[in-house]
């Protein structure tokens, strides 16, 4: 317990330092934040252009699709804000030799890696996702009861953890090939599927996105539950899936760390 408190304290300190840097370049901070929101706007505009002309996407209305999309965006924004260094670990830390610095410090190297850079670019995504979820629920007449708010909270955190776990798992490849972005990219790109209701795909893709690369638990299953569509116990499995995925990924990371031998020699 005391270690957790100490680490939380440390994290606050890291983020405070980071914000001091960011606020030195205020314009940059705002451009970075807005840029990712513009990216979402383009994708959403495309969905709007199409869906204003058809009644539904496989029985899902425009706002129902927005809910799926919004939940996915929120989950993704969490890894973007808190774990963006899992993308840059290769070229920014391992190849430059900076990673060795973490190994001689008296704190966990993974914690140090993540805390080293809070990424402001995810804030725009988070806001965009929250607005989407809010607007969709408003338009669909789904009231914000305390129970639903709690469900949303658990969903978004679980979604973020699923994203982080998959990025952590693939980032571990850095210990063998000195670069991890391509490997991470290959798995991360699967989240594209979960931007739309999984019911539009065939069974193979649905199983892949549910049990192997579980992005379905970030968006589709929670959204189905909120919309009153029956998906059985899958509606409540997101936190379990997130926990298991994180545990596996962390194990693999530790295994990779033992095989790390630095870039020299």
């Amino acid at each position: 317990m005391t270690t957790i408190l100490r680490y939380m304290d440390l994290y606050r300190y890291f983020v405070a330092q980071r914000f001091k840097i960011l606020m030195e370049y205020r314009l940059n901070f705002y451009i970075g934040t807005i840029s990712t929101a513009v990216q979402q706007a383009a994708a959403l505009a495309a969905i709007w252009v199409v869906m204003r002309q058809v009644p539904s996407l496989n029985g899902w209305s425009f706002y129902e699709v927005l809910l799926v999309y919004g939940l996915l965006t929120m989950g993704e924004s969490i890894t973007h804000m808190f774990a963006d260094n899992l993308w840059t670990v290769g070229w920014n830390y391992v190849r430059s030799g900076d990673f060795d610095r973490f190994l001689v410090r008296p704190i966990d190297p993974l914690f140090h890696l993540l805390a080293d850079r809070f990424c402001q670019d995810g804030i725009g995504n988070f806001i965009a996702g929250a607005v989407l979820v809010g607007a969709a629920m408003q338009a669909l007449g789904i009231a914000f009861t305390p129970l639903r708010i709690a469900y949303l909270l658990v969903t978004v955190i679980s979604g973020g953890v699923i994203f982080i776990a998959l990025n952590l798992l693939t980032a571990t490849s850095v210990f063998w090939i000195m670069e991890s972005i391509p490997v991470t990219q290959m798995v991360f790109t699967m989240n594209e599927f979960a931007k739309y209701p999984l019911s539009i795909y065939n069974a193979g893709i649905r199983i892949l996105l549910t049990w192997i690369i579980p992005y379905g638990f970030v968006s589709f299953y929670p959204a189905s539950y909120l919309l009153g569509r029956d998906v059985g116990p899958l509606a409540f499995l997101s936190p379990v899936v997130a926990g298991v995925a994180l545990l596996i990924s962390y194990r693999v990371w530790l295994f990779g760390l033992r095989h790390y031998s630095g870039t020299g020699s």
């Binding site: 370049y25 314009l27 940059n28 901070f29 451009i31 970075g32 934040t33 807005i34 840029s35 990712t36 513009v38 990216q39 706007a41 383009a42 994708a43 505009a45 495309a46 252009v49 199409v50 869906m51 002309q53 058809v54 009644p55 539904s56 996407l57 496989n58 670019d121 090939i177 670069e179 972005i181 391509p182 490997v183 990219q185 290959m186 790109t189 699967m190 594209e192 599927f193 931007k195 739309y196 539009i200 795909y201 065939n202 893709i205």
Partner: protein, 273 residues
């Protein structure tokens, strides 16, 4: 006369060598090529299922049938990286590291150098895309025209379109001399290009006001316009008019880019002198 010819030959040699180097650098990154391959296949699968679901309730959308839309979207997914470039990010990097000072003193024109390199990379990219092209044709229902003339028209239009994009990017990248957050700007640039260039939705499906916006921007010239020849949205008879419009863009942007760069480059101050 021979002196002029010799200096011309020398320039061709220099730029050809630069183009070859850029092509080799692109081929060197094996893992990246695979990641790119997977990403493209995934996005193609997503889009095919998405459009099938959309067309489940309607036979025609914006005047396009399902096979036309699928062909258009698959080609757009395959070629999208050509217009989703981030030259401003490289400019920002060049300025931040002071590399720009070295660029200025080199005896080659930086704009011509970067253009040649980009076109060489685009050539390699197109060849690398062949497997994906075949997969799309074999498995995802890419329906292509048999008339070779349409392919020639497409390739010419694509080349002109790439010129338009390169010249526009050069103007946009000059912002890097004024603003230091170039990553964010490059993200905005890519998002706007993706939407208005027609990589996400065929422009014909957009409401009129969005279509006029798309026409006023250069991005469609690099993607939607060339692809329209292969997806049956434009015919051979349209070719001369399309080429003229693209040439007009090139001439306008060429003048603008030279002007903007010569003004913007004066802003640069490299640390340490």
């Amino acid at each position: 006369m021979t002196a002029l010819w010799r200096s011309f030959r020398r320039s061709v040699d220099i730029y050809a060598a630069l183009g070859a180097m850029a092509a080799k650098a692109r081929l060197a990154y094996n893992w990246w090529v695979w990641a790119d391959f997977v990403m493209t296949i995934v996005s193609m699968i997503v889009f095919v299922y998405f459009w099938r679901a959309v067309y489940a309730g309607t036979a025609s959308l914006g005047g396009l049938a399902l096979t036309q839309t699928i062909t258009y979207i698959l080609l757009a997914r395959i070629l999208a990286p050509l217009i989703e470039t981030r030259m401003i990010f490289s400019f920002g990097y060049m300025i931040r590291t002071g590399q720009v000072a070295v660029e200025m003193t080199r005896p080659v024109d930086p704009q011509l150098r970067i253009s040649v390199e980009s076109l060489a990379e685009a050539g390699v990219f197109l060849v690398q895309r062949l497997p994906i092209f075949l997969i799309a044709w074999g498995f995802f229902g890419l329906a292509l025209p048999a008339d070779p003339a349409l392919w020639v028209v497409f390739l010419v239009s694509l080349l002109l379109g790439l010129g338009v994009i390169l010249l526009f990017d050069w103007c946009f990248a000059c912002l890097a001399f004024y603003v230091t957050e170039t990553w964010g700007l490059s993200v905005v640039r890519i998002a706007v290009a993706a939407f208005f260039g027609g990589t996400l939705v065929p422009l014909a499906m957009m409401p009129d006001w969005l279509q006029s916006l798309a026409v006023a921007m250069p991005f469609a010239q690099g993607l939607a316009v060339p692809i329209s020849f292969l997806s049956g949205m434009a015919s051979l008879a349209d070719a001369p008019r399309v080429w003229l419009v693209q040439l007009a863009w090139i001439v306008g942007l060429l003048v603008a880019s030279r002007l903007i760069f010569s003004v913007a480059v004066r802003k640069v101050t490299v640390q340490g002198g």
